[in-house]
């Protein structure tokens, strides 16, 4: 484009108005109606008086009306008379040569199964009998293979006339889904068909020496790629996962302090499970080890009444995969407040109803999940539903949870269609939540999506800012992911972490049961906000350390005391586990050499391994509180700590097994199996099954 056109374009762009929103909706609705009207009505045109069905008599009448010459009439009458003559039994004898064999109808019937074989001029020098007896037996079974396969009897005649074009071809191209096949394609198909015919014939030619092989001949026919393979490409996998590189080994003398935020999300475990159940190892990026570990309920010591809302427990024990290092296992157990005393809930379900949600594992599963959850709510709780697809809309005004039928109807009425506009929906959901706000109640937006934010703010950073602003107003956000193939894990994480909420990935109804029924109160009622963990290791005792997982949750050292820096929430009854692998000073497992010139003589001041500091805020408070406890020497791990270690090992096997040495799936399975504990929900048993699956798949 030239310069003067550029000016013109700029002017034009400025002059072009935005379409009128109402008119736009109207027009789109019109198009959809006309689209719906059109479905199923593409029959042939209805016969009218003018174009009525042409019967025999209409034709004869037309003919007689048009042919007016005497000569024409004489000719046609004579033709008809001759025709009648031939129809009489005597008339039929007229044409029959006296020497021709008499074919009776019974003989003809017998000939039907192999008509070509009996009558065709066979040019090939193989025995007819061989084909007649052997070929059809297997042919029936083989023919079912592909729609484009020509019946194998035709193969032997391929050289006689036109190559055999199977009758099925035109039907296949008529399929509305398929693109119209061009002449070239048909030629190509014919050529393939011909080649196959020739191959088939060659194999038959080769066969007479060993007649038994003839039955195998049809198998040589390679099924042409079916049209489905060519045109319907599998939908590209557009999943994105948020993860950083695995935490590297840190040298205590250089960097003694490690700071991170807790994480109670669990989508990574569900993603790993769904991948493994489909027979694939999960993408390494999808494995966030801390989410795997935190997926399971643990039986850690609960805090006493009147204490902090959660209780830290630290155990140090020998690393299962390395006898020369230690695991520092930090467990936080949140208290379970009395369920009866919980404040009323205001929930806004923000539901993605874009076209991509139209899948059994998405919208229908979502509907079922919400039905499960509805039973957990109390009459004083309120529910509203906002859907977003192209344009956002409120499906259900805030309704008391006791009006079950109304809510269920609204959920059932959701249908997938249109593209996704995540932000328009988010804005509306937040404004609905604002309207529902009352003092002492818990406000939460629950976003259910397959992770697609097509239109509008598709940049995770911009969305983050929006959510973070809203978080300050007291409305939190939880994200439920549905379906695979399109899962935008990065956006989901960004939203939930910034919305003070949890992210969960729901792949089955049992996962919905776990997230929305068994652990609902944990997901909805925070008991401590912005929980940060800081560990200072003692260089005199610990030479090297490594935090397993929490890559996406790392904080700067100075962020720990800065109350404006956001961190994870701890829900009612939640347990959080963090595991460090530490190498004691003087251990043969130490990977780094001591510095030659550095001051590496550290005064042995204490026999503590390190010092654990925790910061948290009471819900609604702005100032954080501090919990401190020293990390002391080795102890015997309990069942819970051992199981957590097994899962951490499993996660590393899936992601990056650099630090594991020879420790493999066998050891992980044995360790997990031995420490299943009570396992009243069966989650740990399932984990062992997944490990076994991963073991088989990784071979």
């Amino acid at each position: 484009m030239t310069d003067d056109l550029n000016d013109l374009k700029a002017m034009m762009d400025k002059a072009t108005p935005q379409p009128d929103a109402a008119r736009r909706a109207e027009n789109i609705a019109l198009a959809q109606k006309s689209f719906a009207d059109l479905q199923g009505s593409r029959d042939a045109a209805r016969p009218t008086a003018v174009t009525g069905p042409k019967g025999l008599w209409t034709g004869v009448k037309t003919m007689l009306n048009t042919i007016t010459t005497k000569g024409g009439l004489t000719t046609t009458t004579a033709l008809v008379a001759c025709g009648f003559l031939f129809l009489t039994p005597q008339g039929q004898d007229i044409l029959r040569p006296p020497s021709a064999p008499q074919i009776t109808m019974t003989e003809f019937d017998n000939a039907i199964p192999q008509p070509q074989i009996e009558t065709g001029p066979l040019t090939d020098d193989f025995s007819e009998d061989a084909i007649i007896q052997d070929a059809p037996a297997d042919a029936g079974a083989e023919l079912i293979l592909g729609p484009m396969e020509a019946p194998e009897q035709e193969l032997s005649f391929a050289d006689r006339s036109r190559p055999a074009v199977p009758k099925e071809l035109p039907q296949v191209t008529n399929e509305a889904l398929m693109p119209q096949m061009e002449d070239a394609d048909i030629d190509e198909a014919m050529r393939q068909q011909q080649t196959r015919a020739v191959q088939g014939r060659q194999s038959l030619n080769a066969a007479p020496a060993a007649p038994s092989e003839i039955t195998a001949a049809p198998r040589i026919v390679v099924p042409a790629p079916s049209v489905d393979d060519v045109t319907i490409m599998p939908a590209p996998n557009t999943e994105t996962f948020a993860n950083d590189d695995p935490n590297p080994l840190k040298i205590t003398a250089e960097e003694p302090v490690s700071t991170f935020s807790i994480d109670v999300d669990t989508p990574a475990y569900a993603v790993v499970r769904s991948s493994l159940s489909r027979g694939q190892l999960p993408p390494a990026q999808a494995v966030r080890i801390e989410e795997l570990v935190n997926y399971f309920p643990y039986d850690y010591p609960t805090p006493d009444a009147g204490e902090a809302p959660f209780r830290p427990t630290v155990t140090t024990f020998q690393t299962p995969w390395n006898a020369d290092t230690q695991l520092v296992h930090i467990a936080l157990q949140g208290q379970m407040p009395e369920v009866a005393a919980r404040p009323p809930l205001n929930l806004v379900f923000l539901i993605d109803t874009s076209g991509s949600m139209d899948d059994p594992t998405k919208l229908p599963l979502l509907k079922q999940s919400f039905r499960l959850m509805l039973d957990q709510l109390r009459p004083e709780d309120q529910v509203a539903i906002v859907e977003y697809a192209g344009s956002a809309g409120q499906v259900l005004v805030p309704t008391s949870a006791s009006e079950r039928t109304t809510i269920l109807q609204a959920i059932q009425s959701l249908g997938a269609g249109g593209s996704t506009n995540g932000q328009g929906g988010l804005e509306q959901a937040y404004s609905v939540a604002e309207a529902m706000r009352e003092d002492g109640e818990v406000n939460r937006v629950i976003l259910a999506t397959d992770g697609d934010f097509n239109v509008g703010l598709s940049n995770p950073d911009a969305l983050k800012d929006f959510i973070a602003d809203k978080r300050e107003t007291g409305t939190y956000l939880s994200v439920l992911g549905f379906g695979r193939g399109n899962l935008d894990d990065a956006t989901m994480q960004a939203l939930a972490q910034n919305g003070n909420g949890t992210a969960a990935y729901i792949d089955t109804l049992s996962e919905a049961q776990k997230v929305l029924v068994d652990q609902l109160s944990g997901a909805l009622f925070p008991i401590a906000g912005d929980v940060k963990v800081q560990v200072e290791f003692n260089p005199a005792q610990v030479a090297e350390y490594r935090l397993i997982g929490y890559e996406t949750r790392a904080l700067n050292r100075e962020d720990f005391n800065n109350d404006t820096v956001d961190a994870g929430e701890l829900g009612a009854g939640h347990a959080v586990t963090a595991i460090y692998e530490v190498t004691p000073v003087g251990s043969p497992a130490q990977l780094s050499d001591p510095l030659r010139y550095g001051a590496n003589t550290v005064a042995e001041t204490s026999d503590e391994l390190g010092f654990l500091k925790l910061r948290y805020k009471e819900p609604g408070e702005a100032v954080s509180q501090l919990i401190e406890t020293p990390i002391t020497g080795s102890s015997v791990p309990g069942t819970e700590a051992n199981f957590a270690a097994a899962i951490a090992g499993f996660g590393q096997l899936l992601r990056d097994d650099r630090f594991l040495g020879n420790w493999g799936y066998d050891d992980a399975i044995a360790l997990a199996n031995a420490n299943r504990g009570e396992d009243s929900f069966g989650y740990r048993t399932e984990a062992v099954q997944l490990m076994r699956l991963a073991q088989s798949l990784s071979r």
């Binding site: 379409p19 027009n27 789109i28 198009a31 689209f35 009207d37 479905q39 119209q180 269609g417 697609d452």
Partner: protein, 178 residues
Amino acid sequence: MMTSDEDLATAAAAGDGAAFASLLDRHYDRLFAFCFRITGSRSEAEDLTQDICAALPAKLASYQRRAKVTTWLYRVAVNAAHDRRRKRATYAKATAGWGDWEVNRTAAHADTSQKLDWLTAAMRQLSTDLRNTLALVLDDMTHAQAAEVMGVSEGTISWRISEAKKALRALKEQEDMV
């Protein structure tokens, strides 16, 4: 992320309502902008877009995967605009004999169009073909793509663009002189 337009169109042609809705939603704004450019009036563009929307489902049957959806959609739009102009001409002929009321109305209409900015007026002075071609090229289409939409050779497009430029330049000079 996004299903390609072509996949959506093929699915829609096979009767997938969701795909059709999604496709239309994706392209409506662009289609409207294009309609505005070839008609030069907002209300006219809204009506033209409505025509296209109403007829689009039936037209989908003729969609061939070889073509890009945008190209195909523009072609539909150009044809719809043509039909609309033809209908108008017939209507104008039929109503030519109306009384003062119609004359006044047309005069008022002419008055409004004078107030339109230079650009629209200029676009209106171009012949239909030139205007359509220019609208396509201004919509970031290459000459080759525009040629595909209009069903003419690429050379013709290039010639039309230079003609359009010439006409616009002449118009500008004329105005500068006044």
